[in-house]
Symmetry: C2
DNA sequence: TTTGTTTAACAAATCGATTTAGTAGAGCCA
DNA sequence: TGGCTCTACTAAATCGATTTGTTAAACAAA
């Protein structure tokens, strides 16, 4: 609370203050402030004086002290962004968030909690200390309400004051399983996400439900759980090794996300299996590199950039209106078919993240 | 300068102020402040009173107003981080930076300029307005000095007040070309990076120089320039298409970075060429997914996380000592040999980012 | 001439801390 | 009693803005 590192007063070399500017002009700080802020009260000040003020401000390169202003106005134009780690997934969301925030003059603090429960608890407080006006959480299990508006991406808890931006996971499961079943697969292995990921439960529930509805049996031996979470493909590798070691037969695999799918593909190939000929693989997210892998990944696309934009817009809207905002905003997934589920002859050139290949085939292989 | 979005006073619901706390205790704000900050002047205050203060602070959940404090002390504990875009490369660096900053109670603002010169000019000013104590730039061509300490990662300009954290590009070129030549390659194609990337010039110069020294001819027809910069592999794809269209023969390719290498591999394969059998490919950076690609990428590893840490440490050190700091800090690259330059029989399992495969072969293929 | 209104500004309080320069009272000594 | 040193605090200035309530002067209306 009172950490106070030594020395260093680099904030000192600031330019002129409002007072100095006013003095230079032979006016009072009040007048200058009113004019600079185009306050209604400045209406009575003659245009000539106003121009004089603006000119002097430019000339002396006057820049208002943000802290002094924030202290007085109780507005910080700061948003906190809390995530587990800077993965591809988070980076895309953050791009979308940043776009919208800067558009309205906001900046953001980002912080990675690495799934450490203490940090998940502590960071929102630290951000509050720094007077953020609101918080966006990404894949972060918040435990309780906070004294400012929160928008949660892929959070699924029902917490007062928190707006959830969520993917329609049921639809996602339908797309993935529908595709695999149309391709003739019946022995499908499933990755269950790591416990720390807040999408895990919801996604798994949806898969089970949809599989049931489609009459697809989910063999317990083919359901494997990812035990740890990293932003790197080593997340999926050992899981497939376990699966293969069990001897259980399967012709397709629905991974938890693209990153684990990539690790899975690697493990399959290292075991001498071909993708998609021996095992078809479906990822989740559609991160940019999914289109460029070999084989390119069939995946359930989350509109990540868009989700980030929506989260930021929703938060700004809540701040503007000072209203509780919606409990939930849903976005729709999309099936992107690429090589990892289709045979060589049928595949086509990947077109990067904005031109997903959408030529779904209706015949099983 | 005076943008003032409407309404919303969500910063309002703050807890007790120092004054309120002092009143509650029947003491003056001065006393409470001295004790809370463990100031030397608090030495004369009896332990019992101190405990009383701490207890009350905890009880009323007193949290100092950061802006008020910053205004008074002229310290913000804020650092700016400026980058082109949130790529894998940037994400890793940023992780390293964040680690070091949070360790000392600093937060950071991140902003992506997307290589827009106006934003490159404007963002440092906006950050100054927000009273950052220093700035870390990543792959960003700064034009001039700034009124606070700056550490630049992969910046190569010599600007007063800017410490450069740079890779030893000569060594990098030696590692890459040495490896390719030992593998028997003589017709090597080269990617020259996009003009906007600040590493481009230095890296290219080093390659030319080392090639000359090694007696390797760089055919103009095999030197292709990447025309645009994205964080995605579509950066390398069209370049290889051009190269192939030119009809010039080559057996190896040294890409600008891993991302463009991945795009290149894809283009080669789409053209019916095998990697590494027909064309060997070397990347640059060693981003996490390089090890998981098919084929896994041989690459020149930059210790990105470490570079981020070094940048942050250097900046904090400069702030602490209020000194200009070193002009330059160099870090060493490392050759990581994987499948994209070695034939199938010789390859081994990738071990993720921390266990690079180092069994360099001395026989040409 | 008096009153009222508009114009063009300013003084001073305020936001919530930090920090310097004091001060009232106790204790001790001569 | 006076003078000195501690002890345990506090008053008040300050950081740099914003904002409310006045005010002096000019002008218009009665």
């Amino acid at each position: 609370m009172s950490r106070q590192p030594p020395g260093g007063k680099s904030t000192k070399n600031r330019g002129v203050s409002l007072k100095a500017l006013a003095e230079h002009l032979g006016l009072s700080p009040a007048t200058v402030s009113l004019v600079m802020n185009r306050a209604p009260a400045a209406a009575s000040i003659p245009d000539e004086t106003q121009q004089r003020i603006f000119r002097a401000a430019k000339e002396l390169n006057y820049r208002p002290n943000f802290y002094a202003r924030s202290l007085r106005t109780q507005r910080s134009f700061m948003i906190g962004v809390l995530h587990p780690d800077l993965s591809d997934y988070v980076a895309l969301l953050t791009s979308g968030i940043e776009d919208q925030l800067t558009r309205e003059g906001y900046f953001y603090f980002a912080a990675g909690h690495r799934n450490n429960p203490e940090l998940i608890e502590e960071y929102p407080m630290l951000m509050m200390d720094r007077s953020v006006e609101g918080l966006i959480t990404i894949d972060t299990p918040l435990q309780h309400s906070l004294p400012f508006p929160v928008v949660s991406i892929s959070g699924h808890r029902n917490i007062p004051g928190v707006t959830n931006v969520v993917l329609d996971h049921r639809r996602a499961a339908e797309l993935a399983l529908g595709h695999l079943m149309r391709m003739g697969h019946r022995e499908i292995a499933f990755f269950k996400g790591p416990k720390v990921s807040s999408d895990t439960e919801e996604r798994w529930r949806s898969i089970c439900e949809v599989a049931g509805r489609m009459g697809l049996e989910m063999k317990p031996g083919l359901c494997v759980e990812i035990e740890f979470s990293t932003p790197f493909p080593d997340m999926g590798y050992p899981v497939v090794q376990r699966l293969l070691a069990s001897g259980e037969r399967f012709t397709a695999l629905f991974a938890f996300n693209d990153v684990s799918a990539i690790g899975a593909v690697r493990a399959l190939r290292d075991a001498g299996l071909r993708v998609p000929e021996d095992v078809a693989v479906v990822g989740f997210d559609d991160i940019p590199s999914a289109a460029y892998h070999t084989p390119s990944l069939t995946t359930i696309r989350q509109p990540l950039r868009r989700m980030g934009e929506i989260a930021a817009q929703t938060l700004l809207e809540r701040l503007r209106k000072n209203s509780p905002g919606p409990k939930e905003v849903a976005v729709e997934p999309e099936l992107v078919i690429r090589e990892s589920t289709t045979s060589r002859l049928q595949r086509s050139t990947p077109r990067g993240i904005d031109g997903p290949v959408q030529n779904e085939l209706s015949q099983p292989v």
